[in-house]
């Protein structure tokens, strides 16, 4: 499917929405209004939960905060609903910023449990604050007005609601395809991966959380001024899971899925209300929630993927149109050959009583390949994590380019010019090769959330694209940039990780057992690639235990055994060192 075709479909959808009030009855329009209002929250959840992997049960509370804020301001304060929107949005985003700041460091289910906690706490507050009408709520809320036109009838507010939904969809799509959008899509890969790319994972999570809250706030504002009445019920925990259900049924991670999910849940709910009384007289209210929950459970058991991703499989692939040529991204100047760029000085790391790295010292000099080798359990990986900041030192010092890394977070070290790969490949399997490599350019580009959402980033995107494509070609994967990373064989995946690391224009490339699991032919190719990188003056630290691979490749070797440094020297000396032979082969009789 070409981009022009997608635009055509979009335009048709907008026209359908525009003529709907002239075709459909007022009941259908009211239904569409609710769908639009719910869709806003679901789009926020699609970003937060579907893309970012942060499951929130508490969005209903955010909707409520904004609805109550605007309702209170426009009834008690007599202010225009537009000020209500401002108050609602600011208040909701501030609360979200605070809650996010406090809870987003929590992992997995702990984070989701905290959303249940604050969701309930906020919902209980609505019913217990006298100024907000306790459980009776606030009535006679004024309608939204443009000048002298008051949006009272459902066909009037309909256009406002859907205009906002369309804007939200466009902004969200742009955002997802921008620099920070790629970072958001990486969150599910775990913090270690995200931070290794120079991305502040916490900041991306917090921003996603606030964006989702903002969409909920707009939804709450529309709700309050459409129904002209608020009470605690629509903002309770039950509604929180309903929003989650909409986002997941539509296809978590899909923006259009948010609308589809909201439509399905709303229409289904409505028809259940219509038909259940025919089946079970007098018990329909109770059965409604039972039928609903049962359907959701069935969905989670059988078709977790959601509707939009399922349908998309049957549609033609979107055509990829590469961006126009652009100015290359600025490069760092590599330090002169032979200069020390990484200095490890008596590094020490304890795990409880175990000393994994015991006072190890060595240097990495510009332009060389240094091999860090040792038998299993020698402390190589711990050393690696100390250098990249994944672990903190218990003692000693590690300095990169003369600056200590001890008090730096992983992403800060990555930004300073240390790019790494992983022993167990960490790619985004559902993203294309080019998108995976584009992730590497994150620290070299600047586009933030707003510029990304408004597509003011085209020039920079084009530059980043050229850089990523160049790196793909450099490692020999340039022929199919739109393949999904998960479809590559392991050898190519490792090479793709190297391309991603190269896209960051690093001063030091740190490779964690790159030859592990590779076939002989693949190892030879990998060695060839690393040699060509060295001839481009790149500095490489190689952690490996495949002796053959290391010996023919590196300039110098540091050998570790039982957490301590055994010796250091050129491959020839190491090969003939009795202590190394003993460590690897056991004592010579």
């Amino acid at each position: 499917m070409r981009r022009s075709q997608i635009h055509l479909i979009g335009a048709l959808a907008v026209i359908c929405l525009a003529v709907a009030p002239y075709v459909l009855g007022s009941f259908s329009i009211t239904l569409l209004n609710y769908i639009g209002i719910y869709a806003l929250v679901a789009i926020g959840l699609a970003l937060l939960t579907g893309v970012g992997g942060i499951v929130s049960f508490g969005q209903a509370a955010f909707v409520g905060v904004s609805a109550y804020a605007s309702a209170w301001l426009s009834t008690t304060g007599g202010a225009s609903p537009w000020f209500g929107l401002l108050l609602g949005a600011v208040l909701t985003c501030s609360i979200a910023a605070f809650l996010g700041f406090v809870t987003l460091r929590l992992k997995g289910h702990f984070l989701s449990l905290s959303t249940i906690a604050w969701g309930l706490a906020i919902a209980y507050m609505f019913g217990n604050i006298e100024g907000l009408g306790n459980y009776n709520g606030i009535a006679s809320i004024p309608p939204i007005s443009f000048g002298s036109i008051e949006l009272i009838r459902s066909t009037q507010i309909y256009y406002l609601i859907w205009a906002i939904v369309i804007i939200a969809v466009l902004l969200a799509y742009n955002l997802l395809n921008s620099r920070v959008g790629r970072a958001m899509r990486t969150l599910r890969g775990g913090d270690t991966l995200v931070e290794s790319l120079g991305i502040n994972a916490f900041w991306i999570k917090l921003a996603s959380f606030i964006i989702a809250a903002l969409l909920a706030a707009v939804s709450g504002w529309l709700y309050a001024h459409m129904s002209r009445f608020v009470s605690p019920t629509p903002f309770e925990a039950g509604m929180g899971i309903e929003y989650l259900m909409m986002a997941m049924i539509g296809g978590a991670g899909s923006i259009i899925g948010g609308i589809v999910g909201a439509a399905i849940v709303t229409v289904l709910k409505n028809s259940i209300q219509d038909y259940l009384p025919l089946i079970a007289k007098g018990a329909s209210g109770q059965l409604e929630i039972v039928a609903f929950s049962a359907l959701f459970i069935l969905f989670l058991q059988r078709a977790r993927q959601g509707i939009v991703p399922y349908v998309a499989k049957f549609l033609p692939e979107p055509a990829h149109e590469p961006p126009p040529p652009a100015a290359p991204l600025p490069r760092r100047t590599q330090p002169p050959p032979g200069q020390t760029i990484l200095k490890v000085d008596s590094a020490l790391r304890r795990f409880g009583g175990l000393i994994a790295v015991n006072e190890v010292s060595f240097e990495v000099r510009s332009g060389e390949i240094l091999g860090l080798i040792g038998p299993n359990g020698a402390g190589k990986s711990t050393m690696f994590n100390l250098i990249t900041g994944a672990l903190k030192l218990s003692g000693g010092a590690v300095a990169f380019e003369g600056a200590s890394v001890a008090d730096k977070r992983q992403y800060q070290i990555a930004r300073a010019g240390v790019a790494r790969t992983f022993q167990h490949v960490k790619l985004r399997p559902r993203m294309t090769l080019i998108d995976n490599v584009l992730l590497g350019t994150y620290p070299r580009t600047k586009t933030g959330f707003w510029r990304g959402a408004l597509r003011l980033n085209r020039e920079e995107e084009a530059s980043a694209y050229q850089e990523a494509l160049a790196q793909l070609k450099r490692v020999g994967l340039g022929d199919k940039p739109y393949e999904l990373a998960g479809n590559l064989p392991l050898g190519s995946q490792r090479v793709l990780e190297i391309a991603r690391a190269l896209a960051a224009d690093p001063l030091l490339l740190v490779l964690d057992e790159p030859a592990a699991g590779l076939r002989r032919q693949e190892k030879l190719q990998l060695a060839e690639l690393l040699r060509s990188l060295r001839s481009d003056h790149l500095t490489i630290l190689l952690v490996e235990h495949d002796m053959d691979f290391v010996m023919g490749l590196v300039d110098r070797i540091v050998v570790m055994d039982f957490g301590s440094k055994l010796c250091e020297g050129e491959p020839k000396e190491i090969r003939s060192d009795a202590r190394v032979q003993e460590a690897y082969l056991g004592a010579v009789a």
């Binding site: 604050w118 309930l120 599910r188 899971i241």
Partner: protein, 347 residues
Amino acid sequence: MTPDIAAILGVDGIATGAIYVLVAIGTVLIFTVTRVIFIPFGDIAAFTALTLAALDTGQVPGTIGLLVALACLATLVEVTSLVRKQAYREIPYAFLYYLVIPAAIALVVWLLIPLKPPLPVRLAMALLLILPIAPLLDRIVFRPIADGTVLLLLIVSVALHFALVGLGLLFFGPEGVRTEPLSSFHMEIAGIMLSGQTILIVVAAIVFSALLYLFFDFTLVGKSLRATAINRTGARLMGIRPARAGTVAYLLGSLMAGVSGILIAPVNTIFYDSGFLIGLKAFVGAIIGGLASYPGTAIGAIFVGILESFASFQSSAFKDVIVFSMLIPILIWRSLAALHSEEEVDE
């Protein structure tokens, strides 16, 4: 606040906390064995109270209908999966465990109701009716996704809670119930009145916690449960069936929830939807224990009870807000204390 009031609130808080202890320990038990954060546990407690209230007045409790309906559904699910696996030989056992036994319990209780049995028998009847419910729900809802992430199981668990609230309204109706106190005993210590009910609640919490400890440390089934909790794959290699261990955990947990429901029914008016708050507050206690340690859970649940008691004295409208807001600092403390190697990745 005078010391007298503080003492009364303290006693009240400990009694409430003891109720939460029972539910919380069941929650932890099920979480460690199956990784399911079983939110509907409070509903099980509430349903027990409603069942007992119906039995007290000689009515047929809604639980019988609920049990039979769940048994039929679970049998259907189990038989379908056995047919798919072509394990035809196991089908008779499926009928026995999932249909015959629950139906027999329902039948026996139904036959006993017109005989107006004494209180101890009614208690046993209520517990018998409630015990199979959680294992049946496990078979229907959680077993098909037993290997999913904790997060997926949590979402399903929350959805299940809402289904149960609806079923509760359907089978038990909207009226609240309060049962007769189990004992009319009263005593006074240092000017504070202690009712028999309070003492009973605390004693029950202690006894059941102790029994659970003995069960885990001194029986083979208990040890197999612990093994499953520590490492599912490892346990499976040792010939333990995680599914069966899960069933045992649900049965034990339901017993604790059922007992707590019986104990709370004379103290608080219980509605079909009262379980949510009981379950969640117990759950706050369980999180204080890190969803792993039983003594920690017990201390946590007591703490929640005392907090609630004092909070409702200060501002009864906001007591729930206070209890749930407390969860956030607790979660942060817990998350910092817990060692996380690498997060679960759900592609």
